[in-house]
Symmetry: C2
Subunit: 183 residues, 2 copies
């Protein structure tokens, strides 16, 4: 399952949040400030899917995503589930009774070593307005669950960047990672 | 919908395939050799989903993904659908009668400007062994469609890296991006 690796890792550049690494003939990007990122699948008691909108500098466009955040950027040892609950509340104003890790894996294994986790939040209660932390400017969208996919297409047509992982999130609204109905 | 951008783009490093860019307070990675990447959702006439396995240097692990490849790395103007058909045949040995672009968007909008497209291939005929081009070493898996999610969980337990976008692909096996049944 594994290949011998030269292990001659070369740092081509060190930015503030990312470094560019060369190893074994490949270039890839590595986050310097976080272990991974977590995306939160969250449906309110009114059967509305929580989505967030924010301007994304790398793609120079407003983007629609599920609530998400970095793990380990504030507290190095923070468990993924706690980071997910914290980010959900910061970004959307909804607090979760339960958060369950669904799966994790590389977001783009050909160009970075970033790992993305998906977590499902349930037992939601509204406790604040959301909007993100001081550095963020996030608009919360609560979209009826059964209309979410059509709503995403409408937003794409309006010029928003739509993260393809949103559709992984729609899969997880209804299913666990092994294909059984969402527990 | 848009914010004023400083547009003082600074290239921190230029690798062979990637560059590290700083703009407006953000670091991000940019591919230097391709317009975007395309992931191909393909089910054989025997109702088996086509998946590929390859070692991925950035994550230092064998990874399970849907067939995929870069667009514009060989012919700058190549349409996404043609690139998808070419990559499907190179990687899996299956030729498609029809390829339809489903959606495209940023793979990780906080750390790169990479765009990932999803395309659905249909009318498949086996024409070769697959395995990729001279630079690739790809193992093809044909997994019964209804067992694909459970199979992915098994592979995750064995230590394979599982791209979360695989679950977007599972969504697209059954649905169009607007949530209607797959056309």
């Amino acid at each position: 399952m594994s290949k011998p690796v030269e292990n001659t890792t070369q740092i081509l550049a060190e930015g503030t949040y990312l470094r560019l690494v060369h190893r074994d003939g490949w270039d890839y990007a590595e986050r310097s400030n976080a272990r991974c990122a977590v995306i939160i699948v969250a449906v309110t008691p009114e059967d509305r899917l929580l989505l967030v909108e924010q301007f994304r500098v790398p793609v120079n466009a407003p983007a629609i995503e599920m609530p998400a955040g970095l793990v380990g950027d504030i507290h190095a040892e923070e468990p993924i589930e706690l980071a997910a609950a914290r980010e959900l509340e910061e970004e959307t104003g909804w607090r979760a009774d339960r958060v369950r890790l669904l799966m994790q894996g590389p977001s783009s294994a050909g160009m970075s070593n970033e790992i993305i986790a998906f977590a499902r939040a349930s037992g939601l209660t509204r406790v604040g307005p959301g909007g993100g932390d001081d550095s963020e400017d996030i608009i919360v969208h609560e979209v009826p669950r059964t209309e979410a996919a059509a709503w995403l297409c409408q937003k794409a047509a309006e010029g928003y960047a739509i993260d393809p992982k949103l559709y992984a999130g729609l899969y997880f609204v209804d299913h666990d990672p092994d294909g059984t109905p969402a527990a």
